[in-house]
């Protein structure tokens, strides 16, 4: 019985990928994630919905604790459950709900279908195995290639992500590379099996500014080459501006605004987004006090009633403390979860 299920599971990943006509790769619908801890229930994600199409780059923007990384880990299926619980929601990949999928079938989607890059490449790579071995492991486990073929693939990928002298360095260990090179190795590993969806969780946060730009350029290049759907998670508006097609702004586990990148920069439709944009230091405002969003992000165990942002919002009215605003379309293609979105966008 067990052997038949494994055999069936092996076939579940098709040779050539089926992508729906409209290019819809990922469809997240009303996702909720809670962490059940000894101190109580922390509601990390409270109803997040978004879609990702082939060749599209979606940036998810938010402060620490806004739930952006948890969203990524929920899609990837690498949350520790428990303490994490997903009480509600669907994550459809090419029409199939990942959350109700057989765990063994879902495991086989990690790598060939959906793949992920993490923030700190040094701790995310195993310190005791050579980098080439770690990349080759993808081919050995998913494609059942032999050792030398897998190693050749690893070299090819290291060359693709522009690691100099890849053939000589394939046997080197992670600590022998610089931060930027390590992140390139992470990227090589993530794209090894040509995934349809790539999730990059703060891929440049741990890097120097110049290296940041190189890594972002590489990601953009790879995405165009392979027509991947890319989810870029960041707290840095500057990083995503050039790369992203759409932006989703998260606050306290909910999307507060989604829009194409240019309209959002030009005129944000949510006070939180506006606060974020105003808090970017600008050369033409040298000498002036930098605007910052006062207060702290809410405690996820006690999210304020009404709009979660209301204690920090300059425009908050009584209605904001009572009714939670839902994400609604303000202008074509622009969504905001603010009672006064129209006023914010015009301001």
């Amino acid at each position: 019985m067990t052997t038949t299920t494994t055999r069936a599971a092996k076939k579940a990943v098709p040779e050539s990928r089926y992508v729906p006509e409209d290019g819809l790769l990922l469809d997240v619908e009303d996702l909720h994630v809670e962490f059940h801890t000894a101190d109580g229930i922390a509601k990390a994600i409270n109803g997040v919905s978004f879609q990702l199409r082939q060749g599209e780059t979606l940036a998810i923007l938010g402060e620490s604790g806004s739930g952006k990384s948890v969203t990524a880990q929920a899609i990837m299926g690498i949350l520790d459950m428990p303490p994490a619980v997903i009480p509600e929601g669907k994550i459809r990949y090419c029409g199939q709900d990942l959350l109700t999928m057989d765990p063994e079938v879902r495991r086989k989607t990690r790598g060939p279908e959906i793949s992920m890059i993490f923030q700190d490449a040094l701790s995310s790579l195993n310190p005791v195995f050579p980098v080439g071995w770690q990349i080759a492991e993808m081919f050995r486990q998913h494609r059942e290639l032999n050792k030398s073929d897998a190693m050749n693939e690893a070299v090819r990928l290291m060359e693709r992500v522009q690691i100099p002298a890849a053939r000589e360095r394939v046997k080197a260990y992670p600590h022998q590379f610089s931060g930027g090179m390590r992140q390139r190795i992470m990227i090589a590993m993530a794209i090894a099996l040509d995934p349809a969806v790539l999730i990059a969780d703060e891929p440049t946060t741990a890097l120097d500014v110049t290296v940041q730009a190189q890594i972002m350029a590489l990601l953009e290049e790879l995405q165009e080459e392979r027509k991947m759907g890319l989810i870029l998670i960041t707290h840095d508006l500057g990083v995503v501006a050039d790369v992203a097609d759409r932006i989703a702004v998260m606050y306290a586990g909910r999307l507060v605004e989604t829009a194409d990148i240019l309209p959002l920069y030009a005129s944000p439709a949510h006070p939180y987004t506006r606060g974020l944009l105003e808090s970017i230091p600008r050369l033409d405002q040298k000498g002036q006090t930098l605007a910052a969003i006062g207060g702290l992000p809410p405690n996820l165990m006690r999210i304020p009633q009404g709009c979660a942002f209301n204690p920090r919002c300059r425009m908050a009215q009584d209605i904001c403390r009572q009714d939670r605003p839902e994400l609604r379309e303000i202008v074509s293609g622009r969504f905001s979860a603010c009672h006064f979105a129209e006023e914010v966008i015009d301001a």
Binding site: M76, I78, R107, K108, T109, R110, G111, P112, S115, M116, F118, D120, S123, S124, L125, N126, P127, V128, F129, E137, M138, Q141, H142, Y173, H175, M186, M189
Partner: protein, 315 residues
């Protein structure tokens, strides 16, 4: 790597000199006369005592004797530096005695090590993967019990219940023992280390299971078995292997208590009898060899550490 080994070998010289000197001084500072009881019921004749003292340089002061023993002070038969461990007080060469006993001690150490590695790591992995479960608590309590009981109690209990009562194992061990005969003593000898190995494995595994690279392994679509068994375990075993290595070095030094309980004719028993008979030559000779073996094993373990953890460099 080469220079590291040379440096370490050179460091062994002062350690060996210091260790042998201390043992030498301490052994000959013990009260009692080695000629006592040598001649049956009667006291030995003065002529015999004089001959004995001359033979073993017992009339010299301790420094001169040490110099003669090590061969720094030239003597016709040579000393340690010439590879001569001397004769014990029964007139047999210490080298021959050790050659006869060392295989037994090494076998016993091997049994104990295999036992502690297999059971210790298995227990550590099983408890580390299911932290806080029934098995975890069971192992935690039982290792605590083992750690708190002295080895002579464990040895005597094991001998009585498993050997005498149940008859599963031989109660005592003859000369040139088989591995089967050494199974029970080996388990007794390894029991304390099993506790340490299992706890060390468990602690490291629990810590490494939370590591980012294990999350990466899961994100790579590896089975949980592979993520834990290859990625987390490989890192968790580095300190365990080191501990086991040092422990093996210690066990090769003989196990006086265990060898006494089961009457195993190993190095530990030899040293015990040497101390009892005030046979300074036997004790010093045996301990010198043990110190040397321990130093060599330590060096091998340190080199192995560099192989296991590529971040450690011996340059």
């Amino acid at each position: 790597m080469g220079t590291y080994i040379i440096r370490r070998v050179l460091q062994m010289i002062p350690v060996l000199i210091g260790a042998t000197f201390l043992i030498f001084v301490m052994v000959f500072a013990l009260p009692g006369d080695p000629t006592d009881g040598k001649c049956g019921e009667r006291p030995c004749s003065p002529a015999y005592i004089a001959e004995f003292k001359k033979e073993y340089n017992l009339n010299d002061n301790v420094f001169l004797r040490y110099a003669k023993y090590t061969g720094i002070w030239p003597t016709e038969q040579g000393g340690l530096l010439q590879g001569n461990l001397g004769k014990n007080y029964n007139g047999y060469k210490v080298v021959d005695d050790l050659k006869e006993r060392y295989p037994t001690t090494a076998k016993l150490a091997l049994v104990a090590i295999v036992f502690e590695v297999v059971i210790g790591i298995a227990a550590g992995v099983l408890t580390g993967v299911r932290k806080g479960g029934f098995l975890d608590n069971l192992v935690l309590v039982s290792t605590l019990v083992v750690i708190s009981i002295p080895i002579f109690v464990i040895g005597a209990l094991g001998q009585y219940f498993l050997g005498v009562k149940a008859g599963l194992f031989p109660v005592t061990v003859g000369s040139n023992p088989s591995f089967y005969e050494l199974l029970l003593p080996g388990m007794v000898l390894g029991s304390l280390s099993i506790a340490y190995v299992s706890r060390l494995t468990r602690t490291n595994l629990v810590e490494n299971l939370r590591a980012d690279y294990v999350r990466t392994a899961i994100a790579k679509g590896l089975t949980r078995r592979r993520a834990v068994g290859v990625h987390a375990l490989r890192n968790s075993l580095i300190p365990v292997v080191t501990f086991v290595g040092y422990d093996f070095g210690g066990l090769l030094g003989g196990a006086i208590v265990t060898e006494r309980i089961f009457n195993i004719q190993g190095v530990g028993n030899y040293i015990y009898r040497g101390i009892l008979n005030r046979d300074g030559m036997a004790v010093v000779g045996a301990v010198t060899v043990l110190v040397f073996v321990y130093l060599v094993v330590n060096l091998i373990v340190d080199l192995l550490y560099g192989v296991l953890d590529p971040r450690i460099s011996h340059d």
